[in-house]
């Protein structure tokens, strides 16, 4: 088993290498002038500026030379220092964010991770729980109700549902504000008396002993968490329900009943562990998708995460930033796939022992 995990981890850089080739390959579909034009205002007057950009950054070099420079960096003509190079952690300068891409990721990714991790608890927990209840009460009222309830959420576009809860719980009474943190808290966070250990505000607030800031951060996350959970519940409910129904029809469940096992234990100890296996795969994909950017939800709630940053970069044709975000998403997918496979093995001895 450990051998398998090591092999999988060693594979990650190899696959990532392929991902970089693909991403950079897409970039080469733009010709040098098109890429340079993004950084130049009033092009007809400044044609020579464009040429100098192309020249300076080697935008007309052969594909593999450019790719190599993107990977490892390139000696700057003026300063003589190496600049760029994603393996050095330098993803370039983000025009849309007015700072380096690395800094955007450092600042914004923790915000998204925080939101996603808190959302996953109700999302998977309630989804799976509803699925089990629906399966155990197959075709009874509670089954129908759970299905209708969740399919309603599934049919809501997140921007509609998001606006609805904003209206109900913010516009009317100001209970749960949008954004990530209140201004007063933000000032404290950026002051010297507050140390940011992790950039997860809730964790940092706890570590600094500032429960008022923790409470403020949580209040800001309530609405996006509700939105993300509700619009995704149906997925988990349906998968859990159907795999639970399947498990309940298996011979080993009859065996368990024939042994005199309590119905509660038949469901929880015999059917559920088997039924959870397909849910794990889906949970992995969902978490990876959410981490890759909950673009719409973040935009609606004005939440400064990676999704809203990616959206504004894309709108402003900020290719360098988009490239970095795509790469990050690829990495998240790879890691979450690995975690899914390992979890799989824990749940299913047939996988673990073969």
């Amino acid at each position: 088993m450990s051998q398998y995990i090591i092999r999988r981890i060693l594979l990650i850089p190899v696959i990532l290498f392929g991902v970089t080739l693909l991403i950079f390959g897409m970039l080469s579909s733009l010709d040098p002038a098109e890429r340079a034009a993004l950084y130049v205002h009033d092009i007809p007057k400044n044609a020579q500026v464009m040429d100098s950009i192309i020249d300076r950054y080697g935008l007309d070099d052969p594909f593999f030379v450019q790719y190599w420079h993107w990977l490892t960096g390139r000696v700057d003509i003026d300063t003589g220092e190496i600049e760029g190079g994603i393996i050095r952690g330098d993803f370039g300068y983000s025009r849309s964010g007015n700072t380096t891409v690395a800094e955007i990721i450092e600042r914004r990714f923790p915000a998204t991770v925080e939101l996603v991790l808190y959302s996953i608890i109700p999302l998977i927990g309630v989804g799976v729980w509803l699925g089990i209840i629906a399966a155990v009460n197959h075709n009874k009222f509670i089954d129908q109700f759970a299905r209708i309830f969740s399919i309603l959420g599934y049919s809501f576009p997140s921007f509609v549902f998001g606006l609805l809860v904003l209206m109900l719980f913010y516009a009317n009474n100001g209970w749960f504000p949008p954004g990530r943190i209140s201004d007063w808290a933000n000032m404290i966070i950026n002051s010297a008396e507050f140390t940011s250990y992790t950039n997860f505000i809730t964790v940092d607030a706890l570590l600094n002993g500032r429960f008022d800031i923790l409470w403020d951060a949580l209040r800001h996350m309530v609405l996006p968490i509700i939105t993300l959970s509700y619009i995704n519940w149906a997925l988990f409910l349906r998968v859990m329900r159907s795999s639970m129904l399947e498990a309940l029809n298996q011979d080993y469940v009859t065996t368990a009943r024939a042994k005199g096992v309590r119905e509660k234990d038949v469901i929880n100890k015999h059917a559920r562990p088997n039924a959870l296996i397909p849910v794990v795969t889906m949970a992995g994909i969902t978490i990876a998708n959410l981490l890759g950017g909950v673009t719409i939800t973040e935009t609606i709630f004005n939440y400064p995460g990676i999704g809203s940053a990616g959206a504004s970069a894309a709108v402003q044709l900020d290719v360098i930033t988009v490239l970095a975000f795509v790469l990050l998403t690829g990495l998240i997918m790879l890691v979450s796939n690995l975690i899914v496979d390992i979890t799989y093995a824990f749940l299913d001895p047939r996988v673990r022992l073969s």
Binding site: D251, Y252, A258
Partner: protein, 329 residues
Amino acid sequence: MADLLNVSNLETRFNTREGVVHAVNGVSFSLKEGETLGIVGESGCGKSVSVQSILRLIPMPPGEIVGGSAMFQGKDLLKLSMEELRHVRGAQIGFVFQDPMTSFNPVHTIGRQLMEPLEIHLGMNKKQAWDRAVELLELVKIPNPDDRMKDYPHQFSGGMRQRAMIAMALSCSPQMLIADEPTTALDVTIQAQIVDLVKSLRDELGMSIIWITHDLGIIAGLAERVNVMYAGYIVEEAEVKELYKNPQHPYTLGLLKSLPRLDVSEKKRLVSIDGVPPVLFKKPKFCPFVSRCTYRVEKCLQENPPLMPINDHHRAACWVNPQTGKVRE
């Protein structure tokens, strides 16, 4: 000896989308203490459903036990509360299923599954249950039982799994074992091992057995009495030797004729029964076997024959005596 189990007029049906399927239609039989009863019949004739109905193990819905009773030690199993029934299942009646490949839970170790009934019914703690489970695996002749306890079902061969299944069914020393085609999914040499194992365990532990099979050969060496089932009815019941010597229902006769025999020297083609058993959406007013029967007479289409006594230990549900070809009085 006293009756351990007395089933009477058991009636089970399935309410499916296509209609009501009458799977078991008024089945009555009894099992004495220490006795082995065979139930034979081809697939879909209601053998499994009738014994699973006794412990209410059929899925409900769509299954529904419409009527009858199953008296076991003075209690009607069909009327017990779920909680009372749970203390009978596994504790007083052990159950072995057909397919050892799917009857164990793939995510739990064999040991854990063996220990479960011991902890539930005998109140053993983990340590006691473990020791007892190892003994049980030893009893069913699994080598290195202590190590094999930690194995998962997929690490056991089919025969070993079925033996472990038997160990599990017998773990709480039940008075009665129901074996629902326990050898059907196994190859012939393993079948013989399992049958021998059950025989020796029966002699050792003195329990009663209901053994369901479609293999008349196995029944011959194992059971004292046999019920032949067809389309949810018992069509013939007799002591095992009597049944082989003097079958009184055309269906039994057909089953026996389709068996290869070593004691007859002349080479003959085996005879098969044409057709398949009917799916009963309605309880027939005629004999359910009539469409496949070569002995049929006018009366077979007018009235479904009840079980009629042939002699003290033998009853059959047929208007015709297939040995003589004459209509019964």
